[in-house]
């Protein structure tokens, strides 16, 4: 821990002392990379501590774990659809004709020592990676951490989520087992549904008719090279921006929009973040040791005329699966052409669902017209409309997940699959609306509770009897820190369109966009959308009076 020193390096102060070896290396690097300047700004960089700030780290570390284990898997995996007869260690597959991709995955599982473990770490890591990204995104969403100056980083993160989903999808397809082959079959059908170009795109992507012999090698290149390459670039940009913007923080004593309070990168955060990498890796390794994931040996090699029930994609593709499953079978034939609405509409709804959440920061900043930087996080309750929208989005997502797993739900709870599908068809539209309304009410209730607490203090649970016989509960006043924290948030007021004549009495034109903005603003910040936080005057009036109320 003696690499930092305030002394000038050896050349600057000849004869004073002999520089230690580490310093010499650092000097060498500085002369070529300028590391001292870099370290000056970053070595003692401050990071605030909160568990929810570490969700992104879970995603980051599982990504690293996936890359490490993925590189190992490529050493043994053969991305080929060439057919061979299996004669490896797994007896129930002896003599079965299968693709080299599937056979090499069997070999990784049964003939490479530790291969099964690495495969399972890779797959569990992938599920957790995307789950962590989504949860990280929700954290950023509900705390308003996407506001200026972080909108671009929000978009980087969003792109990472999308790319992660598709990297996962292509990876799921590689072993060429019966489950993943069914997934590819679905992709083929989905591409075919695209009007005008679908048939051509399918032919080009698959190198001919389904399944052909090209799709696995092509997916392999996409899975191990193209998508992870782009993701690495985006991830680097994402992290550089996190450093550059400095982390957001919760409101609290001493925490302002102009500072960041926490622990320095060296040593505390480095130990915690570095240690957390090992913790994440350790947990995933132990899960992979004890819980089977994707046992391809019982799934069998892919054959286009075989299938199994429980044919689902991995969870992150569950919501598109739900969209596909709840859709009625609409097909329109006109002028000798077929519009496959039953597949194409859900295919188009997939980007709509995702874009709805991705563009939200820009919608909100347009409604507020706020151009300032924001570094203090919102408590979700203090922004009821945003919180309600996020909860509604999650509700829609969950309904679709149920739809995507409708057969398993039906089997597990002894329900009718048709009834569940109908629930999803209706629920996709109804449940988010209900969730929005309920969430907003809850937020307002919590705001009222905060207001109550600030003005009247905390309920102490002590009951006092007054001389005239009345019972009251003693309220303890809050400490200054709590008073500050509970009132630190800002409250916008709704935009006013203003009078429809200007100061000279000339009629002013109010466009529909401006009207929409005003209406949205009223929905966001009108009387029904937030509880006015206590003012100092109110507080003084109450506290300066008599001890109780």
């Amino acid at each position: 821990m003696s690499t930092t020193t305030t002394n000038a390096p050896g050349a600057g102060a000849p004869g004073k002392r002999k520089a230690p070896a580490g310093e010499k290396v650092a000097d060498w690097a500085d002369g070529r990379l300028g590391i001292y300047t870099l370290a000056k700004a970053n070595m003692r960089k401050i990071f605030p501590d909160h568990w929810s700030f570490m969700l992104g780290e879970i995603a980051l570390y599982s990504f690293i774990i996936i890359i490490l284990t993925g590189v190992y898997l490529t050493l043994f995996f053969t991305p080929s659809m060439g057919e061979i007869e299996y004669h490896g260690s797994y007896v129930p597959m002896h003599g079965v004709v299968m693709s080299e991709a599937y056979a090499s995955t069997l070999d990784i599982s049964f003939d490479v020592r530790g291969g099964l473990l690495i495969r399972q770490i890779h797959h569990w890591g992938a599920l957790i990676f995307i789950a962590a990204m989504l949860m990280h995104m929700m954290r950023v969403f509900f705390t308003g951490a996407f506001r200026k100056p972080r909108e671009l980083n929000w978009m980087f993160g969003f792109l990472l989520l999308i790319l992660g989903m598709f990297t996962g999808l292509t990876g799921y397809s590689l072993p060429d087992d019966l489950l993943s082959g069914t997934g590819i079959r679905f992709m083929h059908g989905a591409i075919l549904s695209t009007p005008v170009v679908g048939t051509y795109v399918a032919m080009f992507l698959f190198g001919g008719e389904f399944p052909g012999h090209d799709i696995i090698p092509r997916f392999f290149a996409i899975h191990v090279l193209l998508l992870p390459g782009i993701m690495l670039g985006l991830l680097t940009a994402h992290l550089i921006l996190v450093f550059y913007h400095k982390h957001t923080q919760w409101a609290g004593p001493g925490k302002t929009n102009k500072n960041v309070v926490g622990m320095p990168l060296l040593p505390v955060y480095m130990a915690k973040a570095g240690g957390f990498f090992f913790l994440v890796f350790g947990v995933i390794a132990m899960i992979a040791a004890t819980f089977t994931i994707n046992p391809i040996w019982v799934l069998g090699p892919y054959r286009p005329d075989q299938v199994s029930t429980n044919a689902q994609p991995d969870w992150y593709m569950g919501f598109p699966e739900g969209l596909i499953r709840f859709m009625p079978g609409w097909e329109i034939n006109i002028w000798g052409h077929t519009l496959v609405m039953g597949v194409f509409i859900p295919l188009m709804l997939l980007p709509v669902v995702l874009t709805a959440i991705a563009v939200y920061p820009f919608v909100e900043s347009w409604v507020t017209g706020d151009k300032r930087e924001h570094h203090i996080l919102d408590r979700p309750r203090n922004v009821p409309t945003r919180t309600g929208f996020g909860a509604a989005w999650i509700a829609a997502y969950l309904v679709l997940l149920i739809g995507g797993g409708n057969d398993v739900v039906a089997q597990f709870f002894h329900l009718s699959i048709n009834a569940i599908t109908w629930f999803v068809r209706i629920g996709f539209f109804v449940v988010p609306v209900l969730t929005f309304i309920i969430t907003k009410r809850i937020c307002l209730g919590l705001q009222r509770k905060d207001r109550e607490k600030v003005l009247h203090g905390r309920e102490s649970g002590i009951i006092k009897r007054l001389p005239h016989g009345e019972f009251i509960e003693v309220h303890e006043p809050l400490a200054q820190e709590d008073l500050h924290t509970l009132t630190a948030h800002e409250q916008y007021r709704p935009t006013e369109i203003g009078p429809d004549t200007d100061e000279h009495g000339v009629r002013r034109k109010v466009g529909p966009v401006e009207k929409l903005r005003a209406r949205l603003s009223k929905g966001y910040y009108g009387e029904d959308a937030q509880i006015a936080k206590p003012t100092a005057e109110e507080y003084k009036e109450i506290t300066s009076g008599h001890g109780h109320h």
């Binding site: 695209t194 240690g275 350790g282 132990m286 286009p304 017209g369 706020d370 009132t487």
Partner: protein, 362 residues
């Protein structure tokens, strides 16, 4: 115009903003509201640092040190255990471990030891950071990200000068041809993608079925006779001459896979369907018309067949009409009859493309 209140520094909340106020401006500026002597909600500043036990009690600090060292030691032992497991356990050794079941000894031991080795390093580092490293919170100043106006002016001036010197705006011929060249260039990349695959042509309209091709039982690889298929049974057939070892088996079976059921002719509602059957033996494409999964979840009492992928339900007694789910049209039926040797044979190819619908299907 919107504005916001609530700058807690002054406590002058809920101030009515002027109509022309910019959103960035704070509500209280320019207003002569009586300044309160003391704001009850003012930021009290960072709370004073409190010491941990380890900061004031060296014995506690030593305990922490030992815990950290112990965790690192456990990690070392776990790595040794990992190597030992790798050497000791044969890859096919199965052990019963409650409640996991009959699991691979190697996978379990490697995973748990690797997990322990990693977890303990992490736990040691975090415990070290939490108990021994300084926990004094530090406040770091933020600086606005936007550049100072002078910087911005300088950059804009530089840019204008650079643009001027390039003469891009003045030499229109240069500009237009450059844009043209850059626009055309990616076309070569696009052209190169042409050989990714063949053009569709009529490939998707034909399958391996032809008039006179026998229906081969997928299970036994023998040609099927009508008496093989009883009411309530389910059989799968492929066209004669298509073998598992064939290079294009997968591509052909993906279109030709056939599902055979027998329904009492009186129960068959669709006239054409009955005509195309042989004494109630119906041959339907096994490939779902939604996105192409093999539908074959046959309920023999209801004559419904369900697709496991997206639950499209077809009524095989009524021309495979769609009853439920996202499929857009019925399963194509193959016209069959019996040849002179008494075997089932196809009367031709499917009359319409099998599998998922596509733009040119019509």
């Amino acid at each position: 115009m919107s504005s916001e209140t609530g700058s807690h520094g002054t406590g002058s909340d809920e101030i009515v903003p002027e109509n022309e106020k910019l959103p960035g401006e704070h509500g209280h500026q320019g207003h002569s509201v009586a300044v309160l002597d003391e704001d009850p909600f003012a930021d009290p500043g960072l709370p004073p640092h409190e010491h941990r036990v380890q900061d004031i009690d060296e014995r506690a600090a030593r305990r922490s040190e030992r815990t950290v060292a112990l965790l690192f030691t456990v990690s070392m032992l776990a790595t040794v255990a990992f190597i030992a497991s790798y050497v000791a356990f044969p890859i096919d050794k199965i052990v019963y471990v409650w409640p996991l079941g009959h699991v691979s000894a190697l996978n379990l031991s490697l995973g748990l030891s690797l997990g322990m080795a990693l977890f303990c390093i992490g736990a040691a580092a975090v415990h070290w950071a939490r108990t021994l490293m300084s926990d004094v919170e530090i406040a770091d100043e933020r600086h606005p990200i936007e550049a100072e106006p002078e910087v911005k002016q300088k950059v804009l001036a530089d840019f204008r000068q650079g643009a001027e010197e390039s003469q891009l705006g003045r030499r229109k011929l240069v500009r237009h041809t450059m844009l043209g060249a850059l626009t055309l260039l990616p076309l070569s990349g696009l052209v190169l993608l042409r050989d990714l695959g063949p053009l569709p042509g009529t490939k998707m309209r034909h399958t391996a079925w032809k008039k006179g091709k026998l229906l081969i039982n997928e299970n036994t690889n023998e040609p099927l006779k009508p008496e093989d298929i009883v009411v309530g049974s389910l059989a799968f057939a492929k066209p004669e001459g298509l073998e598992r070892e064939d290079h294009d088996f997968a591509t052909e079976i993906a279109k030709a896979a056939l599902m055979l059921v027998r329904i009492e002719p009186d129960d068959i509602k669709d006239k054409r369907s009955l005509d195309w059957s042989h004494e109630g033996i119906l041959a339907y494409s096994k490939i779902c018309t939604h996105v192409g999964c093999p539908v074959s979840l046959y309920e023999q009492q209801t004559h419904h067949v369900l697709c496991p992928c997206h639950q499209s339900t077809f009524d095989l007694s009524d021309g495979a009409r769609v009853l439920f789910g996202p499929a857009g049209h019925p399963l194509p039926q193959l016209k069959i009859s019996v040849n002179k040797d008494g075997y089932l044979e196809a009367q031709g190819d499917f009359a319409e493309p099998v599998g998922p619908a596509f733009w040119e299907r019509g």
